[in-house]
C-alpha cells in the first residue's frame, strides 16, 4: 500500500506564531493532495488542496507547499490561534487510482495561549 506521513507527532506553538506541519509521501505518481483538520470528536474537515501542477497554494491564513522532487508536502498556518488546535492529516491520491485517498497518520497541533 501507500505510505503517507509520519507516526502521530505533536507540535506545540504559541498563539500568534506561525505553524508548519510536514508530510511525506511515497508514491511519485500522486498528483492530488489535501490537508484536513480534525477536531476532537468530529470528522476531518477540508482545509486546502493542491494538484501536482502547482508548487504552492494559498488560502485564508493557510499555505500548502508541494515539493515533488523529495515527495514532501507542508501546511503553513499563519498567526496560529487556539481554535487551530486539532489533528492535521495530509491525504494523497493519483488520477490512475480512482478516488482512492491515502491518509497520513496525522500531526497534533497544540496552540498555547
Amino acid at each position: 500500500g501507500e505510505s503517507v506521513g509520519l507516526h502521530l507527532p505533536t507540535l506545540s506553538v504559541q498563539e500568534g506564531d506561525n505553524s508548519i506541519i510536514n508530510c511525506a509521501y511515497s508514491n511519485s505518481a500522486s498528483d492530488y493532495f489535501i490537508w484536513y483538520k480534525q477536531e476532537s470528536g468530529k470528522g476531518p474537515q477540508f482545509i486546502i488542496d493542491i494538484r501536482s501542477n502547482m508548487d504552492k497554494r494559498q488560502g485564508q491564513r493557510v499555505t500548502v507547499l508541494l515539493n515533488k522532487t523529495v515527495k514532501h508536502l507542508s501546511l503553513q498556518i499563519a498567526a496560529t490561534q487556539p481554535g487551530d488546535s486539532a489533528v492535521y492529516f495530509c491525504a494523497e491520491s493519483h488520477t490512475g487510482n480512482f478516488n482512492k485517498f491515502y491518509f497520513g497518520s496525522g500531526t497534533k497541533l497544540n496552540v498555547k495561549p
Binding site: Y32, G43, F46, F98, N99, G106
Partner: protein
C-alpha cells in the same frame, strides 16, 4: 443543513450482533466512501461507491457490506461484530469529473464500541 450526516453517532453493542450505520449527503456528490479510524487516529478507506456502483473495496472482512440505494445514501451493515471492529467509522463524499477527483467531505463519524 448538514452536508454529510451519519446515524447513529454512538453505537454500543455486544459481540456477535449485527448492526447498520447510515450515511446521507446533500451536496449532490456522485461518490461516497466509508473509512475506519482506529484508536491511533489512522484513517483507512474501506469502500467507495460512484453513482451507486462499488469502485473501491479494500481488504475488508466480508462481514462488512455496504449498500447504496441512491447517490445520496451509503449504508454500512456489519454482521457478527467482533471486538476489533470497535473504531470510529466515517462516511465521506466527493464529486468526480472524469478521472479527476474532488475533495472529500466527511461526516461527523459513528463511534462503535463492541463489548
Amino acid at each position: 443543513d448538514t452536508a454529510v450526516s451519519q446515524t447513529p453517532k454512538y453505537l454500543v453493542t455486544q459481540m456477535g450482533n449485527d448492526k447498520s450505520i447510515k450515511c446521507e449527503q446533500n451536496l449532490g456528490h456522485d461518490t461516497m466512501y466509508w473509512y475506519k479510524q482506529d484508536s491511533k487516529k489512522f484513517l483507512k478507506i474501506m469502500f467507495s461507491y460512484n453513482n451507486k456502483e462499488l469502485i473501491i473495496n479494500e481488504t475488508v472482512p466480508n462481514r462488512f457490506s455496504p449498500k447504496s440505494p441512491d447517490k445520496a445514501h451509503l449504508n454500512l451493515h456489519i454482521n457478527s461484530l467482533e471486538l476489533g471492529d470497535s473504531a470510529v467509522y466515517f462516511c465521506a463524499s466527493s464529486q468526480t469529473q472524469g478521472q479527476t477527483q474532488g475533495a472529500q467531505y466527511f461526516g461527523p463519524g459513528t463511534r462503535l464500541l463492541v463489548l
